[in-house]
Each structure stands twice: as C-alpha cells, then as structure tokens.
Symmetry: none
DNA sequence: AAATGTATGAAACTAAATTTCATGATGATC
DNA sequence: GATCATCATGAAATTTAGTTTCATACATTT
C-alpha cells in the first residue's frame, strides 16, 4: 500500500463518522475513484458531496481533484489489483457496470499465471508448431475463443477448422494425421460434444490440447496437453465473461509464440494479406 | 518517454496547426498539465479551449479529464516501459511471451475509460434495450467480437444475427424496424463492408452502434452511437490482439447492463437454458 | 469564381466541484 | 434538567471547469 492509502488508513481513527465511511470506501476500491464524481462517490459511500470534499481536506489534500490525481499517481506505481467479483449485486448504473467489467476482466487475466503451467504451455507451442491441421472446437460461451483461434492460426498458414456442427467435425476426424491437433475449449471440461470429439480424435492418433478450467474434470484428465484457466468466482450474472477472457489470452499467447518460432517463414504471406486488407479499404 | 508522450510526438505531423501547438506545449512541460484547466492551457499554448479538447480526441483520448489522468499515470511510472512491443524480437521463451500478452491485454482493457464516453455508453444501453433485432457485424479480427455479442444477446432473448456473409446480411436489412440495431465492429472504422452495411441500415431507419477506435474514421463519423476503443500502440506482430480485448469488454459491459435492466423478465428463460446445459453434460 | 470542406475560437451550455447555510445531535455549563 | 455552544452533516446555492455548438475564416477543389 502506497503512502497516500497508508495515510488514509492511519487517519481513520481521527476522522468524523461521515469521513470515516468515505475513507473505508476509498480503501476498499481505490482504483475506481479517479473516474468518479463527488456525487457518485458520496452516494456509494453513503455520505454527501460536502463530506467528500471535507474528507480530502482532512487527509491533507486541498481539493477532490488533487486527491484524484494523487491517487492515480499512487496506483500507477503499485500495480496491485483486487479480485472481488461480488459487486454486481447492488443497483449499479450502466457506467458502474462497465467499470466493474473492466475490473473483472483484468483480474481474470492477471490470475492466469496461477493456473497455467509453464511446461504444458511450452509443450503446446511445440506441438502446434509441428502440426499441420488444427481443429478448434468450443460450444456456447467457448465458441468465441474457437472462432478467434481459427482466425489467428489461419493467418499463420495452418489448415484450420472451427465449426459449430458436431457431425460435420466428426466426419473430418478420420483424416487427421499424427501431428494434427484438436484444441478442445470448454470451461467446465464436461461438455459432452467436446469430450466425444476429443476421444475420437485421440483414438485416431491426433493430440488434444485442452483449454479448460483447472479442476479434475473429464477433459482435464483425458487431454494430452492442459492449458488451464483459473477458476474465477462465479456469479450467474457475470457468467462466463472472465473465463472467456482467459481462454482468449491463452490463445493469444500461443499464437504469438508460434508466430515467433515460425518467424521469417510466414512473414511474406502475412504481410501480403495485410497489405491487401489495407488496399481494399478505399 | 512513456507511450503517451511518444504517441503525441508521433502524431504531431498529422495534427492541425492549433493542435500541434498544444502538442508541443504538452511535450515541453508535461508535468504541469495535470493541474491546469482547459482555459489556462489554451492561453499558455496560444490556442482555444475547444482546441484543447479536440487535441485530446485527436490523440485518441476521449476527454481532457481522462487525458490528465493518463498523463499523471505516465509521469508516475516513467521507469517502466510497459507498452514496449519490441520484446518479440529478442529470444523470449514461450512463457515470457505469455506474460507479455497478459500485460498487453490488461493494459488495453484498463485504457478503455479513456476512450469510452459515458453518455454514449448509456445511450447504447438504452437503444439496445428498446431494440428487437440486433445484427452484429465485424470481419477479420472483429469477427470474434461479433460472434461473442451474438451469443450473449441471444441468451437475453434478442433476435440476433452475426454472419460473415455480406450479401446474406444485406438481404435482411430491409426488414429492420425503427428500433433495430446494427452493431458495427471495426477497429479501423474504414472496413468497406461494415460501412456499406451501416449506411444501408441507416437509410432503412435502423440505428448504428459502432464499436471502433477513437479517431476520425468514416464509421466514427457516421454512426449514431459511438463506443470507442482506445488506440493502443500498434505493432504488426501483436496485430489486433489488444483491440479485440477492448471490443469484447465493451460488449460484456453492454450485455450486463442490458441484462440488468431487463432483469427479472429474462431470468426464467435464462435459467431454463442454463439448467438444460448442465443436465446435458452427463 | 463558386462551392465545398476544414479548422478555429467565442460563446452557450452542461456537468462537476466547492461553499454556504440550516438543521439536528452532542455535550458542557449554569 | 434547561440552556447554550459546538460540531458534524447534507441539501441547496454558487462557482468553476469542461464540452459542445455555431459562425466565421481560411484553404482547397472544380
């Protein structure tokens, strides 16, 4: 905790009731303050606008604006983030919700290192590097990640598929070679279609890379390589939002790593496609 | 020099006279800015208040207030070079790359408040709330966001479409009603198909909500409602990765806000579908 | 030379921060 | 136990700051 927040904490006992409420609120969610107005803040902390201004003066800062600036400065230095997903219960305005989503998403991404195993990730890069075909399969909320991977790896020259239709995919499995890969994406690791497809593919000799939550699900147990997303606190309102961010980030990292190793080989084609995109804009 | 100041320096040539004066002044004395008002700054830099605000928008930040906050943040941590995309040149291990991606993605999400306008966001929530049909359209890297929105808003009971096929979509446009919405997703705001579809839809009376980078692109100018993503430093290797995260986060926030306002109405259907998903897992 | 477009600052407008002020609570003094 | 002083507090008024609009000027094109 930086000097400003520490100062707030230390001065809590000497503050008046309303100011104490303010102080506690600030300490709880300091990163939300800079984008708030006195009115919002007073409502959130259960005080009045005047008390907000008075609070700033009490902790030795002349105005609310300066307080915000100081806070940003402080928060910029210590990059600590909170991880509390409980806040959607209150009656929030659209912009509050937006701020919370921002927060939930960044927290989730930052939590990935706690679940993603380094060696598994390296194995995944290596395997994809030597693959020819990639099949991305995810249903429901995980379809987004599948589409994204499909797009990215196509850009790198892979023969990719990402299709919603289970039977369609099934019929392509027997043609997979030893080096080919199924990217099985499922948060729960229990989705039946994803499991069936993976098993079938393994029987035919392909590798299954799973992007799934870190727990002992069937997909987790059966996959050849496990890229685990952190289990984030769950609330039906938030649903799969943060999970999907973590799936995507893992795919991003995989993509860049493969890009890097393929490196010079794909650059000409990559730029060619890119220039064509720009040309077609006009 | 941090990413923000670098960005200002780099964009100097493309700025107008008044804006250039502003930029030079800011570069000369960046640490003075946060405690200045638009009026002071306009006098010091020999321009007008309006030009100050315009300058902020031109460098991709939605308001003068946000600009100040960003500047403070940057000045506070000029030691760390966080948005440095050159890492892909050195010999990074896969896991390093993963860590950088994590960082790039979280930074991008955290930058959204600098570009997303509060009021526009509220307008978007309101408009979607009163819509019946939603068409999500994005090509290339923006297709991911379109798919994601498609999935999310379908869960809320909207008649949604998200399709890659331009002609297919075209044929559905004439059936749009006054309250219907096109969500036009394009980072550059110049994608031809997206523009054409939006124009056609507007002619037919539907509203266009654009999710696009904050700059003076055609889509930005023509959209009815603009949800702007921040301009993040660009490197062809990273490509659209962080932009797509910001698009998705904006859609997440929109979804949750609409969910919240629809609230109780959709809960039964929502849970019904959800339980069925769980049942089908076994 | 007319027409179109772009840039600009003055002024109107809107939003946010700050101050003032009335009220009610607490506690000290007679 | 009544009276007065003090303090904390939030509602409302005021002031200040930020943003948008609009008319004008200037440049560019046809």
């Amino acid at each position: 905790m930086g000097p400003l927040l520490t100062r707030i904490k230390d001065s809590l006992p000497s503050l008046s009731e309303a100011e104490k409420k303010m102080g506690l609120y600030v300490l709880k969610q300091p990163e939300l303050i800079p984008n708030m107005t006195t009115k919002e803040l007073s409502q959130k902390s259960g005080t009045s606008e005047s008390s907000v201004v008075r609070f700033c003066k009490s902790i030795g800062i002349g105005s609310f604006k300066s307080f915000k600036l100081e806070l940003v400065k402080e928060l910029a230095m210590n990059e600590e983030k909170l991880t509390d997903f409980n806040f959607l219960q209150d009656k929030s305005e659209p912009y509050d919700i937006f701020q919370k989503v921002t927060h939930v998403n960044t927290s989730a991404i930052e939590a990935i290192p706690t679940s993603l195993d380094r060696k598994e990730f390296q194995k995944a890069v290596h395997t994809v590097n030597h693959a020819e075909r990639l099949i991305f399969y995810g249903v429901g909320g995980s379809a987004t990640a599948a589409v994204d991977g499909y797009y990215k790896f196509t850009k790198l020259g892979y023969a990719c598929t990402a299709h919603q239709d289970f039977h369609f995919l099934l019929s392509s499995i027997p043609y997979l070679k030893k080096n080919d890969v199924i990217m099985a994406i499922s948060m729960s690791g229990k989705t039946k279609d994803v499991l069936e497809l993976s098993r079938f593919a393994q029987k035919e000799g392909a590798s299954v890379i799973a992007i799934t939550n870190l727990d002992k699900s069937p997909l987790y147990k059966e996959a050849d390589i496990r890229l685990c997303t952190p289990i984030v606190e769950h609330d039906y309102r938030i649903g799969s939002i943060p999970s999907r961010m973590t799936q995507l980030t893992i795919i991003d990292a995989l993509y860049l790593s493969v890009f890097k190793t393929k490196g010079e080989d794909v650059l000409p084609q990559y730029h060619e496609a890119r220039n064509e995109v720009i040309r077609l804009r006009r």
